[in-house]
């Protein structure tokens, strides 16, 4: 197996995630796109760990998974609070701090 096939798959997944973060209006969907980005990073970490025969790749992928769980928890709590205050999770309308 080539190293590049995994890196290119991760790059494509990352770009799809970036598109989702930029283009989606629904707060929950933006969080899902962030998960795509984090998964792309994990593929890279594990692929380089396999390439260099270094265990650090897997260890840091585990850390990323733990951080992702924390991020989703806090993110969904914020979206929930947004919904309670505005009865909508449309991110285009969240512009109170716009100058």
């Amino acid at each position: 197996m080539l190293l590049n096939q995994f890196l290119l798959l991760a790059a494509v997944l990352f770009c799809i995630g970036v598109y989702g973060v930029l283009a989606r209006r629904n707060g929950v969907m933006v969080l899902m796109s962030i998960e795509l980005i984090l998964n792309a990073v994990n593929i890279n970490l594990v692929a380089f760990g396999a390439y260099r025969d270094a265990i650090a790749g897997q260890v840091f992928a585990l850390f990323v998974i733990a951080i992702a769980a924390a991020e989703v928890g806090v993110g969904l709590a914020i979206v929930l609070l947004l919904y309670r205050n505005r009865a909508s999770i449309d991110l285009d309308t969240v512009d109170s701090m716009k100058g």
Binding site: N39, Q58, I89
Partner: protein, 163 residues
């Protein structure tokens, strides 16, 4: 080796199609279910790379916990289910340009630098090695992550609870 490459091709096709559906579908629940397909595919990729522990953790944590959390989020925010409300904002074409440009740059750089570097024949890394590494070399970061996770979850409860 051929079998592994065929498996990778199938997985990659499934992952890319499902990921595209996650960011384009108009049904929020379908997006969460396509996300399951992407996460399972990535987990299978980890197994293909010989990272057994990460592969299993991916299934347990992502599909078992995070997707369920997403479904709860969808339910509690009463996002429109099964309707055709527009879920993308007005500037989606420029987002598309940005992400395609990024993909082109990343693809060029990766192909240019790594060319056709082969992975080693046997990339298997045992769970025992991972745990040895975590509890010896990376013990302090591991404890920091566990404290961070606790703090984040308590914070999430504090933010989301009704007073």
């Amino acid at each position: 080796m051929v079998a592994q490459n065929v498996t990778f091709g199938l997985l990659a096709a499934v992952i890319v199609v499902a990921a595209l559906r996650v960011v384009t579908t108009r049904n929020v629940v379908h997006a969460a279910l396509y996300l399951v397909v992407v996460l399972a595919g990535v987990g299978a990729n980890f197994l293909l790379l010989g990272a057994e522990f990460i592969g299993v953790t991916q299934i347990l944590v992502y599909i078992g916990a995070i997707v369920v959390l997403f479904l709860f989020g969808i339910m509690l925010t009463r996002a429109p289910i099964g309707t055709t409300v527009r879920l993308t904002n007005a500037s989606w074409p420029s987002s598309l340009v940005v992400s395609i440009g990024l993909a082109a740059v990343l693809g060029y750089v990766l192909v240019d630098y790594f060319g056709d570097e082969e992975l080693p024949e046997n990339t298997r890394q045992l769970t025992a090695t991972v745990s040895d590494s975590i509890f010896a070399d990376y013990l302090v970061p591991f404890e920091v992550v566990s404290i961070l996770l606790t703090a984040a979850l308590i914070g999430a409860i504090v933010i989301a609870r009704r007073d």
